[in-house]
Symmetry: C2
Subunit: 225 residues, 2 copies
């Protein structure tokens, strides 16, 4: 007959593939955001203090990546294999949304990360509680990005035309994110399906999008755009 396989030799099997996919996409999202924010800080910040402030957020993203990678390894998954399916889509999103100036970089950090974080958090709510806790831990960085809100708000109050341009930019960020998400879903239907199931089915998907839109609108209001 078959040899008895102890649970400890197959540590990844106790988790649904949806968990590894979610942690994989989130890990690469953090690793790529860290690199992009570092570059934006180095090339666009108007002062060394501003450069340090955005770099500090970037370094926090790296720490999140590191937690997620270690958790994947702890589950018995290969972190590189878990991230690889999402590299092209996330790289494409960053290439399509390269900020042209410092304010665009700040809006991208706050609005782009915000909507992505809401998405990951909502999906994680329906998965294993320890995963939901890890994802929540990774995503608590609203306080840190407060400096971005203050900078953008001050600029928009001083120059309403800048506000109109940044509102357009924020819409483009969301549009490009949805476009990349659709491509991932089309290329990996089993992931899309597991996320739909994890979310509790179609009705909850509608609720998910309502939540994302509501939170996005709150962030736009916080920025004054």
């Amino acid at each position: 007959m078959f040899p008895k396989i102890s649970r400890s030799t197959l540590p990844c099997m106790k988790e649904s593939p949806g968990v590894v996919d979610l942690l994989g996409v989130l890990a690469y999202a953090e690793l790529s955001a860290y690199a992009r924010m570092t570059e934006d800080a180095a090339t666009l910040a108007p002062s060394l203090a501003d450069r340090a402030a955005l770099s500090e957020l970037a370094v926090a993203e790296y720490a999140h990546f590191s937690l997620l990678r270690d958790h994947l390894a702890g589950l018995g998954a290969d972190p590189d294999a878990a991230m690889t399916p999402f590299v092209a889509a996330l790289d494409a999103w960053h290439a399509q949304t390269r900020p042209a100036d410092w304010l665009q970089a700040l809006v991208k950090t706050y609005v782009g990360d915000g909507i992505a974080n809401d998405f990951y958090r909502e999906v994680a709510r329906h998965l294993d509680p320890s995963v939901a806790k890890l994802v929540d831990e990774v995503l608590v960085d609203e306080v840190r990005s407060q400096f971005a809100v203050e900078r953008v708000r001050a600029e928009v109050e001083a120059d309403p035309a800048a506000g109109a341009r940044l509102a357009l930019w924020a819409r483009r960020l969301v549009g490009e994110a949805l476009s990349q998400a659709q491509q991932v879903a089309a290329a990996r239907p089993e992931l899309a399906l597991s996320l739909v199931e994890a979310s509790g089915g179609q009705a909850d998907i509608s609720r998910l999008f309502a939540t994302l839109t509501e939170e996005h609108n709150k962030r736009m209001a916080a920025l004054g755009i």
Copy 2:
């Protein structure tokens, strides 16, 4: 008469200008190395695991920057003002030594940072003990860069021609560093002078260069080039 000024209102005055200059150049060296290593990791690493390994070194550089900046602020100095005189030279060094591939990036991390760190450590030895302690704390990262040594060594053993090319690259890194250091010394003679004095005069400058060369040769031997 003049009002009595307590020491606490002039906290920067108890330190020589050489301390602020040294911490300023070191702080910007760490901030710029963090950005460059992050970019090298994102664009040159052959795998996500390698990218993470070099990114981890980059993030450690950011942590060092953060310590130095806070120490400068604690001395009553403006960290941006302390770093600004050195931005052009350090940016030029990075522009002149942009790695063309992953092995060049690893050699740059190990050899370039190594010689710079030896220089800062030697100069700091002659300054205030608390500064020397801080600088030592910031520069203890040999263990972390061990992965770079192992990777390069394995490659060079497998392909001696690659070793010859990397030896040339390492010489170029040192040459460009000396060239930038000379330009800084020419542009800021008072800094050069305070460093000579801090080092204990001309005789010690000769000893400093002997030490730097010796440590550099040890690193080249460790890499097998």
